[in-house]
C-alpha cells in the first residue's frame, strides 16, 4: 500500500524517456512483480538515415506504464525478427516471455512512414493481431501509441489509454510577487508537451470536455478567479463565469452540455450547474457550509461533491432531480476532490486519516464504502482517472518540486513524471480521443 516501503523492495529503476526540456520524464517508483513478460523487438527500418522515433521503445514503455506488462530487455533477445517468418517461438519461450511484438517501418514518399506490426502469443505459438498504421514524422509517437493500444486491448480486453493526453499546470516561482504559470498539453507519458495558456496569475482546476476538444479552467488573470473555456485547436477562449467571489472547480457533464462549478455569489460556496447552450444557471446545493469540487456520476443524474457541513471535509452525492444529499465518506478527517471512475462504481479522492499528517490518493468502492489508500507522499492533490479506469494521475509535493504521479487503480505500479522546470500540479486526464 505504501509505495515508499515497496520502493525499498523493488528498487528504483530510472527510464530516461527523453531529455527534452520542459517535458516530463517517467521514473518508475514501484514495479509490478506479477506483470506479464512481453518482448517488443526493435522494428526493422527501411528508409534514409536514422528512424526519428524508436517505435518499439515507445510501445515497450507504454506497456510497462500500464503496470500489467514487463518488457523483456533487448539484451536478452536471441534474435530480432521483423516478419512472422523470422519468429522462432522456442527462442521466446526460453526467455519466459508470454507475448511478442514485431514490426517494420517503411519510409514513404512525402516524408511519411508506414508501420506494420504483429502481436504473437508465444505459448499458443500463434499470431494474435497484426496491423498497419502510417503517419508523418510528427505523428510517429501517435503511431506507436496506437500500436500499444491495439496490443493492450487484444491481450487484456480493455481499451488502451496510450493515445490519450493530459493537461497540467507548471508554476515557476521567481519570488513572492512573481510566478509564471503555464497550462500544458502533453501525451499521457509526458512527451510532446505544449503550453496552451501562459499567465502571470494562477491557473488551476482544468477539466476536459467529453469530446476532448475543449478545456474549462480557473484563471486569475483579472486578479479574481474566473472560469474560462478554451478550444484546444484554435486557442479561442471565452470567460464563462466571473461572478463576485469564487468561480471555481469547473467540471464538464458527461454529455458535454453542462458545466458544474462552485460559486460563492450568494454568500458561501455552493454547487451550480451552467447549461452551456441556454446559459441557464441552476443552484444545486444550498448550505451555509463550503460545498465544493463537483464531479459528475457517468449518468449525469447526480454530482459528487466535497462539503464540510458535517464539521470536516467529506464527500457527498446530490441527486439533481430531487436535491437529495447522501454522505459517501465517513473515515478520516479530510476526504475531498473526488473524481468518479468511468464505470461509476468507484471514487478517487484525497484522504487524510485521523492523526495522519499526509494527504493521499484513495480509491473507494461506492457500494461497499471500502476505501484503499494508494500512495504515500506527504501532499497529494488533484486525482484524476484514465478513461479506461485503470490508471490514476495526481500531483505530489513535499519533497522538493511538485511532480505528477501515475498509479494503477489497483495500486500495484506507480510512476513519477518529474519536471525539468517548475512545480507541476493540477493534472487532468483526457477522455478517449480517437
Amino acid at each position: 500500500m505504501r509505495a515508499y516501503l515497496r520502493v525499498a523492495l523493488f528498487g528504483f529503476l530510472l527510464i530516461m524517456v527523453s531529455l527534452a526540456r520542459a517535458e516530463l520524464t517517467i521514473e518508475i517508483t514501484q514495479g509490478n512483480d506479477k506483470a506479464v513478460p512481453v518482448a517488443v523487438v526493435p522494428f526493422a527500418w527501411s528508409g534514409q538515415g536514422v528512424l526519428p522515433e524508436d517505435i518499439a521503445g515507445i510501445v515497450g514503455n507504454d506497456l510497462r506504464l500500464s503496470g500489467q506488462f514487463a518488457p523483456v530487455p533487448t539484451s536478452q533477445f536471441l534474435g530480432f525478427p521483423s516478419k512472422a517468418s523470422e519468429v522462432y517461438f522456442g527462442d521466446w519461450r526460453r526467455l519466459g516471455t508470454s507475448y511478442l511484438v514485431i514490426g517494420q517501418v517503411t519510409e514513404q514518399p512525402g516524408s511519411r512512414y508506414r508501420v506494420n506490426y504483429e502481436l504473437f502469443d508465444v505459448l499458443a505459438q500463434k499470431s494474435v493481431v497484426r496491423g498497419e498504421v502510417s503517419g508523418n514524422r510528427n505523428q510517429l509517437r501517435s503511431v506507436a501509441h496506437s500500436i500499444s493500444d491495439a496490443v493492450y486491448e487484444k491481450i487484456t480486453g480493455v481499451r488502451g489509454f496510450f493515445s490519450t493526453r493530459i493537461v497540467y499546470v507548471v508554476a515557476n516561482r521567481h519570488n513572492e510577487n512573481s510566478t509564471d504559470y503555464k497550462l500544458v498539453y502533453a501525451d499521457m507519458d509526458g512527451h510532446r508537451a505544449v503550453p496552451v495558456l501562459q499567465s502571470k496569475e494562477p491557473i488551476l482546476a482544468p477539466s476536459w470536455s467529453p469530446d476532448g476538444r475543449r478545456l474549462a479552467y480557473v484563471s486569475f488573470e483579472t486578479g479574481r478567479p474566473a472560469i474560462y473555456i478554451q478550444e484546444l485547436a484554435t486557442g479561442r477562449r471565452e470567460r464563462i463565469s466571473s461572478f463576485r467571489g469564487l468561480n471555481s472547480a469547473p467540471k464538464w457533464s458527461p454529455d458535454g452540455q453542462k458545466l458544474a462549478m462552485v460559486l460563492s455569489k450568494s454568500g458561501n460556496p455552493d454547487i451550480y450547474v451552467l447549461d452551456l447552450t441556454t446559459r441557464a444557471l441552476t443552484q444545486v446545493t444550498r448550505h451555509y457550509a463550503m460545498d465544493n469540487e463537483p464531479s459528475w456520476m457517468p449518468d449525469g443524474k447526480s454530482i459528487v461533491f466535497t462539503s464540510n457541513r458535517g464539521g470536516s471535509a467529506q464527500l457527498y452525492e446530490v441527486t439533481l432531480a430531487t436535491g437529495k444529499v447522501k454522505r459517501l465518506t465517513f473515515e478520516g478527517r479530510f476526504n475531498a476532490r473526488a473524481r468518479v471512475f468511468p464505470d461509476g462504481k468507484s471514487l478517487a479522492y484525497i484522504h487524510k486519516g485521523k492523526g495522519d499528517q499526509s494527504y493521499n490518493v484513495a480509491v473507494q468502492e461506492i457500494d461497499t464504502g471500502r476505501m484503499r489508500l494508494l500512495s504515500s507522499s506527504p501532499f497529494e492533490d488533484a486525482p484524476d482517472v484514465s478513461p479506461n479506469g485503470r490508471m490514476l494521475i495526481y500531483s505530489a509535493k513535499g519533497e522538493g518540486k511538485g511532480v505528477l504521479g501515475i498509479i494503477s487503480a489497483d495500486g500495484r505500479v506507480s510512476f513519477r513524471l518529474p519536471s525539468t522546470e517548475g512545480d507541476v500540479r493540477e493534472p487532468a486526464w483526457s477522455p478517449f480521443l480517437n
Binding site: R173, E176, T179, P202, L204, A205, V218, F220, G223, R224, P225, G245, L246, S248, A249, V262, S264, N268, P269, M290, N292, E293, T306, A313, F334, A336, R337, I350, K352, Y359, P378, F379, D381, A382, K397, G398, R425, E426
Partner: protein, 191 residues
C-alpha cells in the same frame, strides 16, 4: 506596511500655516489630513512655516474616535498590522487580530478614513486540496469583512478575494511556513 493611505495622510498633514509674531501650535484638525491655514494681519511681514504633526493623522483619527484604548505607539502598530493569521483549517479570528481590526474599523469610520476602501485577500497553507483551500481562503477573508461590518463598515467598501495557497509568503513545507501562510491581508485600494 502596505498602508499607502497612512503615509499619504501623513504627507498632507504637513501643514503650511501663516503666522506672525507669536509662536503657534497650528489649528488644523488633527488627523483631518487637511492643512489648516490661518491668516494673521498682526504686524507686517509674513513668512511661510511648516509644522509636522508628531502623531500620524490616521492614528490621531483613531484616538479621536474614542473607540479603542491604547497608547499612540500601540494604536500605530495595530493600524499598520495588515495581516491577520489563522489556525489550521479555521476562519476564527484571534483576540490579538481583533484588536487590530477594531483599530482599522475606528479609522475607517473616522472623518479621516471615511472614504477608504479595502481588498481583503484570503490565503491558506498548502495542506488539503487546491480547490478546497480556495474556498477556505475566501472564508478567512470574509471573516475579516464580517467583523469590520459588525463595526459599521459598509460591505461596499470591502472587497474579498481568495488565493487559496496559490500565493504563499513562504513556500517551504513546514509548520512555521504554514502558520505564516494561513492569513488574510488587508490591502487599501488606491484612489
Amino acid at each position: 506596511m502596505k498602508f499607502g493611505n497612512i503615509t499619504k495622510g501623513f504627507a498632507t498633514g504637513l501643514a503650511v500655516i501663516w503666522l506672525a509674531g507669536c509662536a503657534s501650535t497650528g489649528t488644523q484638525t488633527a488627523g483631518s489630513g487637511v492643512a489648516g491655514t490661518e491668516d494673521s494681519t498682526v504686524g507686517g511681514a509674513q513668512t511661510a512655516v511648516v509644522t509636522t504633526p508628531l502623531v500620524d493623522p490616521a492614528v490621531q483619527a483613531v484616538i479621536d474616535s474614542g473607540k479603542v484604548q491604547g497608547s499612540v505607539e500601540q494604536i500605530e502598530a495595530l493600524l499598520k498590522q495588515d495581516t491577520v493569521h489563522f489556525g489550521f483549517d479555521s476562519d476564527k479570528l484571534s483576540s490579538d487580530d481583533i484588536k487590530a481590526l477594531d483599530v482599522q474599523a475606528a479609522y475607517m469610520t473616522s472623518p479621516a478614513g471615511v472614504n477608504s476602501k479595502l481588498v481583503i485577500e484570503g490565503h491558506t497553507d498548502e495542506r488539503g486540496t487546491r480547490t478546497y483551500n480556495l474556498a477556505l481562503g475566501e472564508r478567512r477573508a470574509k471573516a475579516v469583512k464580517s467583523y469590520l461590518a459588525l463595526k459599521g463598515i459598509s460591505s461596499s467598501r470591502i472587497e474579498v478575494v481568495s488565493y487559496g495557497f496559490e500565493k504563499p509568503v513562504d513556500p517551504s513545507h513546514n509548520e512555521a511556513a504554514w502558520a505564516n501562510n494561513r492569513r488574510a491581508v488587508i490591502v487599501p485600494i488606491e484612489g
